[in-house]
Point group: D2
Chain length 326, copies 4
C-alpha cells in the first residue's frame, strides 16, 4: 500500500522504515529537510510541503500525522483537511486526547474525510519489535488500512498463546486491534499509559524499600546488604512480578546499581493525567494510578512544597515544633 | 491531692503548675536540677532522685512519668517499680505505644502495682487551655486519680453543647475520658494523631493548589492572584472547614504569606506510624491517613529518591526519555 | 439595597430572608409559585417570570441566580442576559465550575453586563450563622454589591481574632472576600470543598479504626470496648483535631453510636472532582484529597468492582487461590 | 543430595517431585498419611513422624519445612530443634515474617543448628516452570545446599539475557539468589509480594476504567463498546505493560469477559501487610503499595463501612444531605 507520513522524528521515521521493509510505499514530509533526505535514501518519496505530499498520493489517500500532540498536530490536520478530497483518510498516530479525536472526526466527516486515531506503544523498540497499536475509526476505513497496521505490528512472535484461544490468530494476537469509533484507539492507549505509570511506581517503591534496608544509616544489626541488580535479575525467572519493565530495570541496575546518572526528576505526559481525569469523570476509584502520577509531580519539586511548609507552620503553632534537618 | 511528677520539660512542668493552681500538691524530679528549682519556687516540693520522690509521697502513691517515649520512660518505670509498694500507681503521660502499656501493666500487676496511661493533646497550649486527656487503666484506679484529671482538663468552657446531650456534664464534656483498660488511653491518642496528620495534609494540599494557581509560571490569563491569608481567614467564619488547625494556619499566613521561614521538612512521631500499623493489623483501609504520613516521609527527602531514579531509568529504557529539569 | 433572586430553594429562600432581616429589598422568582408566595408573606416582592422580575428592579440591577449548577443555571443566565441592560449584574451563587464562570463573564461583558460568582459555604446553617462567601468579579462591581455581602456574611461573631491581625476588621474577618476576577470565587470554593472531603475522610478513617478495635470479631484480649461518642466529645475540648466537622460527628454519635440509619453510600458533588482535575492540571500532588474522593466513589459500589474481580482472577491464575468469604 | 521435607501440600509435594526428577533423594512427612503415600509411590522415602524423618537422614541433615506460616511452622521448628544435631540445617520455605527468621536463627545458633529462609515465587506453576527463590542464611550453609536450589530453580530458560551481563550465568540468572543472612530471603520475598499487589491493582484499575467506559449507564455518545479480552491480548504484543500478570489477565478475560465467577472479595497475605509495616518503619513513602493493600481490605467489606456512614452523618449534619441510592 501507499502511505503519506508527516513528521519524521524517531517514531515517524521508523514507521516509514518498517512499512518499506514490508513492501509498502511511503511519501514523507518533515519541516526539517534533512529528515526527508534520510528517508529518500532508504527508498521513500519525499515532499517539501503538504500540498506536494498530497499530490504524490493516489486516491483514496491516507496520510499518517506523527507529530507532538497539541498545536503541531492540530494545525497539520487542519491544513491537510483543506488539501484532501472526499474519502481520503487522516491518521493521527500521536498522543492525542481522545476527546480531540472525537471532535476532529466529526468536523472532518462534514467534509467527507475520514479520521483514524492510532495509539502506539513500543517506543524506541518499535522498528525492531513492531508497534502495538490500538486503533479508533470507522470499521470500513480501518479495514482499508489494515495491511499497513499488519506490517507495523509485531505479529504473533514467540509469545505463548493465551489459554482458551484457538483457531487462526486474531488481530490482537498479531499486535493491533480496532478498538472502536474515532477516539477509542487513543482512549485505550491512554489507559495503557495510566497502567504503565502504576506498574512503574510499584517497582520504584519496592526497590526503594530494598535500597533503604541496605542503608548505612540503619544500625548494622537491622541492615541487609541487598544486591539490587541480583534481585531484579532473579525476579525475571519464574516470579509473579516478571514483566518488560522489570527487564528494563534489570538492565539499568546492572549498568549502575546506584542509578547515579539520574536525578529522579520524572516527567509525565498527557495520558497519565487524562487517565485520572477520565476516572474522575466516570467515578472509578483509581488510588494506585493517581498515586503514581502524584509521585511524579512530587519528584519534580526538589524544594519543600508550599503545602509542606504549611504543615511545619501548623506544627509550630500547636506544639512549638521546630523543623529539624535529618 | 498529691502527685509525684518525673520529668519537668514543657509538658511535665506545666502539668505541675496547672495542678498546683488548683490546690494539689506535687513532688517533682528531673535529672536537670535547675528544672526542679524552678518548680520549687512555684510551690512544689523537690526530690533529687526517684527514691527521695517516693519517700515524700503518702501511700497509696501516684507518680506521673512525663518523659520521651522509649528508653527514658521504660527505665524510669522499671526503677519506680522497685521503689513503690503495693497499690501505688505509675502514670505514663508520654507518647507510648499502646502495646508497651499493656505489657507494662501486666508486669506491674504481678507486683501489685497499678499502671495508668494518659494520652494528652493540647501541647504548648495546655497550661492555659487545659489538657484533653484519654486515659487507660483500671476503673477504680482511674476514679482514685480523677481529681487530678479534672484539674488538668479544660472543663466545659464556652464550647456549645453537643446536640442531644442533657443533664450534668459527662467527663468527656470536661475534657477527659476513661477510655478503657491499660493501653486504651494511648490507643485513642494514637488514632487522634493519625487523624491530625490527615487533617493537616488536607489543608496543605488545598493551600498548595491555591498557591500554584497564583504562580508566575502560569500564563496570566490562567492565573488568579489569590490572597491566601484572606482565604484562610474567611474560612474561619461559618465555613465547613473551620477548625483549630485552620486557625493556626491563619496565624501563620498572616505572619508571612510565603511561609519563608520554613523549609518544608516535616517530622513525624510514633503515633502517626503506629496508626497505620494498627489499621493494617485490623484490616481497615486508611488511604488518607497513610497518604498524610507518606507525604511527611517524602518531605524529608529533598534529593530525588532511589525509586524516582528507577522511574527515570525505566523511561530511558523503553522510550529513550532523558530527564529534563523543569 | 435591592436584589432580584431567582430560585427559592433552601439556599435562595434563606438568602432572601437574611437580606430582608437586614433591611434590604428583594424581588423573588421561582418556577414553583408557592415558593414565591411564602417569601411574599415574609416581605419580598414576587415576580411570575424573569421579565417581571427585571421590570421590578431599579437600574443598575442585580439578580442573584441560586439554582442547581449546570443546565438550569446556564439557561436562566442566558435568558436574563436578553432581558437586562448595560451595567446590570448577574450573580451566580450556585456550585458552578469556575471555567464556566470565566466563559460567561467574557460573553456577558460583550453585552456590557457584569458577572459575579459567589461560592458559599454554610449550607443549612446559613440563615442562622451567616454565609461564608468567596466572591469573584470586577472590583467596582464587587464594591457596589458589598452591602449585600456584608448582610449575608456571619460577621466577626465571637471567634477569637487571628494572631497578628490588628486595626479594623478586614472583610475576611466578617466572612466574605473578593477573591479575584470572575471565576476566582468559585475556584476558592472548589478548593474549600476538596479540603472538606479530605478532612471528613480523615475523621472517617480514624473512627473506623476505633470501631474496628471494639469489634466482636477480635479476640477479647485484643479488644478495647471504646465509647465512640465519648471519644468524639473529649476531642472537642482542647485537642488538636477540634473542628466543626468533629462537632457534627459528636452530634451524630450521641444520637446513635452505630450510625444505623446510614447505609454509607456517599455522594460527591462537582467541586470535589474539579479540585482533583485542577490539581492534575496544575501538577500539584494531592494524595489525600484524591483518596477522599475515591473513597466516596467506592462507597457507592456495594458489589465487588470489576477491578476486584480481575484481582481474584489473577490470583486464581498464578496461585490457584479461590475466593473466600470473610 | 538428600533432603527431608515436612509438609506435603501443593508446594511441599511439588518441591519433592522437582528434586526427585533431578536425582535428589527425599524423606517426606506430613500429618496426613495419604500425602506421604502419594510421594512414596513417586520414589520418596516416608516418615510417620519427625523423629523417624530425622533418623532416616544422613548428617549433616537438612530439613525443609513447608507449612503455613505461624504456629504450624513455629512448633515444627521447635520440635526439629530438639531432634537435630550440631551442624544440621532447618529450612523454612513458607511465608514467614523476616523478624521471626532472625529470632529463630539466633535461637538455633545457640544450639549449633543452622537456619535458612527461602522465599519462593511461582505458586502452582513451580513444578513446571521452577521456583524463583530468594534465600537467607549463612554463606557456607547456602553453598552446601546449593545443588538443591539449582534443581528447584527455573534455570536460564529462553529468557533474553539482561543487557550488560556477560560471562557464565550468575545464580540470579538461573533463578535463585543468596540474599543475605537469615531473614534476608523472606525480606526480599516480602517486598516482591508488595510489588505484586501494586502491579495487580494497576491492571485492576485500568480495566475498571475501560469497563466503565463501556457501561450501559453512560449516554450512547460517550460510550465505547470496548472489547476487554482483545485489549489485554494486544497489550501482550510489544506494549510497555507486558507481564506475566497481564498474560494471566488475558487468560481470564478470554474465559469470561464479565469475570462473572468471581465476587471480587480479595484476600491478602502477611507479606503485603508486612511490606507496608517495613516501609513505615524505614520511612519510605509507598502510596501505591499501600493503596493496593487497602483496596483489598475494602473489597472484603461489601457493606458500607462505619467510616462511610460517618461521612453520611456529617453531610447530613452540615448540609441536610440525605443518602441517595445510585
Amino acid at each position: 500500500m501507499q502511505l503519506g507520513i508527516v513528521g519524521l522524528g524517531r517514531m515517524g521515521g521508523n514507521i516509514a522504515r518498517r512499512l518499506m521493509r514490508d513492501g509498502h510505499h511511503t511519501v514523507v514530509h518533515d519541516r526539517h529537510a534533512p529528515a526527508i533526505d534520510t528517508l529518500l535514501a532508504e527508498g521513500a518519496k519525499g515532499a517539501n510541503d503538504l500540498a506536494a505530499l498530497v499530490q504524490q498520493l493516489d486516491k483514496p489517500r491516507a496520510v499518517w500525522v506523527m507529530l507532538p500532540a497539541g498545536e503541531a498536530t492540530e494545525q497539520t490536520i487542519a491544513q491537510l483537511a483543506d488539501l484532501l478530497e472526499a474519502d481520503d483518510v487522516i491518521i493521527d498516530g500521536g498522543n492525542t486526547f481522545y476527546k480531540d479525536d472525537i471532535r476532529r472526526a466529526q468536523h472532518l466527516a462534514e467534509r467527507q474525510l475520514h479520521y483514524v486515531d492510532v495509539g502506539t506503544s513500543g517506543g524506541v523498540w518499535g522498528l525492531e519489535r513492531g508497534y502495538c497499536m490500538m486503533i479508533g475509526g470507522e470499521q470500513a476505513v480501518f479495514e482499508r488500512l489494515e495491511p499497513l497496521f499488519a506490517s507495523l505490528a509485531p505479529g504473533e512472535g514467540d509469545i505463548p498463546r493465551t489459554r482458551g484461544r484457538s483457531g487462526p490468530s486474531a488481530r490482537a494476537e498479531k499486535g493491533y486491534i480496532h478498538a472502536g469509533p474515532p477516539g477509542a484507539g487513543h482512549y485505550v492507549k491512554m489507559v495503557h499509559n495510566g497502567i504503565e505509570y502504576g506498574l512503574m511506581q510499584a517497582y520504584a517503591e519496592g526497590f526503594d524499600i530494598l535500597k533503604s534496608k541496605a542503608s548505612d544509616s540503619l544500625p548494622a544489626d537491622q541492615r541487609f546488604d541487598l544486591n539490587l541488580p541480583e534481585i531484579a535479575e532473579v525476579w525475571r525467572r519464574g516470579s509473579v512480578v516478571t514483566s518488560w519493565l522489570l527487564d528494563l530495570s534489570a538492565d539499568a541496575l546492572v549498568a549502575d546499581p546506584q542509578l547515579g546518572s539520574y536525578s529522579g526528576s520524572v516527567s509525565d505526559s498527557g495520558e497519565g493525567r487524562w487517565t485520572i481525569d477520565a476516572a474522575v469523570e466516570q467515578a472509578v476509584p483509581v488510588p494506585v494510578l493517581s498515586s503514581a502520577l502524584f509521585a511524579r509531580f512530587r519528584s519534580r519539586q526538589q524544594q519543600g512544597t508550599y503545602g509542606d511548609k504549611l504543615l511545619s507552620a501548623m506544627r509550630f503553632g500547636f506544639g512549638g515544633h521546630v523543623e529539624k534537618s535529618e
